[in-house]
Symmetry: C2
Subunit: 455 residues, 2 copies
Amino acid sequence: MNASPQCLNLWHVCETTRLDKARETLAAVLAEHADRLVGRFYEVFLKHDEASHFLSHSVVVDRLSPSLQRWLQSLATFDPNQGIEEFAERQRKMGEVHSRIKIPVHIVLEGASLIKSDVGEILLSNHGNREGATAIVLLNEVIDFAMLLMSQAYVTGVAQRAKIEEAYRLFTLGQDVSVERESQRAALLEWSQAAIFSLFGGAGGARLKPISQSEFGLWFRHRASVMFQGSIMLNSIDAAMKEIDEQLLPSIDSLPSLHGPDGAAPLVANLQARVEEIKFLLADLFQSLSASAGGRDPLTSTLSRKFLPSILGREVALSQQHGTPLAVMMIDADHFKQINDTRGHAAGDAVLRQIAEIIADNTRSADIVFRYGGEEFLVALVETNLEAALEVANRVRAAVMAAEITVGDGSKVHATVSIGVATHTGHPDYQHLINAADQALYRAKNEGRNRVIAA
Amino acid sequence: MNASPQCLNLWHVCETTRLDKARETLAAVLAEHADRLVGRFYEVFLKHDEASHFLSHSVVVDRLSPSLQRWLQSLATFDPNQGIEEFAERQRKMGEVHSRIKIPVHIVLEGASLIKSDVGEILLSNHGNREGATAIVLLNEVIDFAMLLMSQAYVTGVAQRAKIEEAYRLFTLGQDVSVERESQRAALLEWSQAAIFSLFGGAGGARLKPISQSEFGLWFRHRASVMFQGSIMLNSIDAAMKEIDEQLLPSIDSLPSLHGPDGAAPLVANLQARVEEIKFLLADLFQSLSASAGGRDPLTSTLSRKFLPSILGREVALSQQHGTPLAVMMIDADHFKQINDTRGHAAGDAVLRQIAEIIADNTRSADIVFRYGGEEFLVALVETNLEAALEVANRVRAAVMAAEITVGDGSKVHATVSIGVATHTGHPDYQHLINAADQALYRAKNEGRNRVIAA
């Protein structure tokens, strides 16, 4: 098994009779106060938004309380010398379920902590002090053991689920989005047409379906929210739909007549304006996809900075595990603002493209080049020590200085770069490596630019 | 702040003088035993493979021990009435760092548990019992509070990182893999050519570079391991490279002469065989990509089952939150094996395609259709109650029965389906919904097939 019962210290240090007495005491307290303890635990649950909006009161009472009761009982009867693997398996199972039903581990930890405090309080005031104290330590050790097993399974589940969710989101983006865009635009227009017809069909007309219940409304709630995760335009569309369903449609419905001076004309115009608004927002949403989907910077074809934590974290770990060196270059175009200001953006773009090309020519297929900022590149040189990294950096610096860069209009521009180089020194946090390269770059800038400085 | 100090029970129930005394006692014990406690904590770390292969002894001693010392001290001086947010922020920061440097939360929990046990032991034996017990409860509450804050930040970090990693993996797959395949095949052949030349260049030849140090070797370690994550072919390639570098090359190197009866011929043949093996495995690796990359079942264009946890989990949560209904249909082709056996696989494929088409015709764009198994589909009908779901199921059943399905050779085949329908009843675990639909399907099969049964 994974988690060692080393943390069940009491079984190593405590004589059997004292331990047995403590288990007995604990079992009695847990049995006597079971209902209150379970109640306390779920108070914590329902207090947290992450859990309460999801777990209704009835779910808690009907389904979770009995299982928590059983869990409490199992704590008092637990004996690491008998069936430890069974106990461990049950805790892991619970951790898995929590990750599936999205009960955050910190809420479970908080609930468990409350139970420990409560029981501790009772034990201290009702029992002999030494006996009570042993029972407190016992309960703590067993609950902590359960918590670490649960957390481990929970974290594994959360990470797996996060991967699947991201894969699904990217999958929906990779689908033929132009088809989806057109079919949802059509679904929206279909609803608005049906709405107008139904309104002017008079009292005999069929009752109007709310837009949130339409094909478009369903798609919006169940699909768009995944595809366009995090976009603020989602909120605007949601608000427009709510306004239609909760204000405009009821107002129109309650009119005595659709014609005449109190007629529906202004309301219908309003309705149409809201539908138009949704149509524009929808187009914008799909438009925004193409801009953000790629993993590469469109100008220089270097890797998007968003992958940096994943890749550098992995490379630092590989370096640590295998004892291989790892170097990072931070490369910044000198006087870039000036080039942009005096020669125009096309010249600036040409400079960045040329620098990226020179970096690519001087690195291997396993090295990784990121567009790190406006005029900054970060390069991870795998299995490369400081000496070799400085050599690469100097080649890049010399090549940029020597290059005659052609702008789109045929004119030429020259550029230089400053480079900071750092190597992995054993610190497990990749952020330290980036910071070190950044500081070296800063010094290279300060000392006159067009130079390479090692951290 | 997020985590309520409600779990710091002692501050609510304990009179100030008793609490102050307990804090004093605790501070003294933590200061006296700091070195031993830190040592105990890192014993746990280094015992676990997940942490030890990453954290070398020197990293632990130089960097982590001082920060753990400071953390221990902060536990004794912590007072929720003063600067609780500062304390909380520090714990969250630590959780973030742990997620970045991949120290699993369960190991931190285990270490913390050990510290609690150890200190508890000391307090029980060296101090007045009531006073010792209060100090134990105090330490437990403060450590548990720290742990829940740390876990929360850790889990957030892990989930974010898992998403980025998956996005990067999928991004590398989405690149032009045929270019990558060819260039790495070329890199491999380049190494093997250089190897042969260098061998027969005799004693004057340049020293041979190990294959693991070649462009191909670097690519394999730093790129292929991401692109082909989890493939067992990676291990085979790794083993072949190891054999080359650790056995074949040293044997060839140590030969007195490359010619004559003790010559290199058999060893070189062996080397060539290993390179060929790697070449084939590499081709297979890239081949395997196209099969697994898609999110849809290639035969029926329904969604891959791998997205099920993400989508159903989300739909169950939406249903729970908004009080909207949710239905699941489990649809299974009747006597499918028989169709395959008597009419051939083309007929079976045609039946599955036809069923998928009929399902698509009878569902809306927000509903989700999965290929669940060989001849089984799972359909999530969003915002649909049992009555409406049964209607859809019966339409699908009738349409399949009525369809005359054309096989590739022009012949016709008929098929029926059995369908189990279940609706979300409030259980937060989507697996219960699937099980319920599955059991209903089982009954539909048992009761004679070609029918719809509600759970």
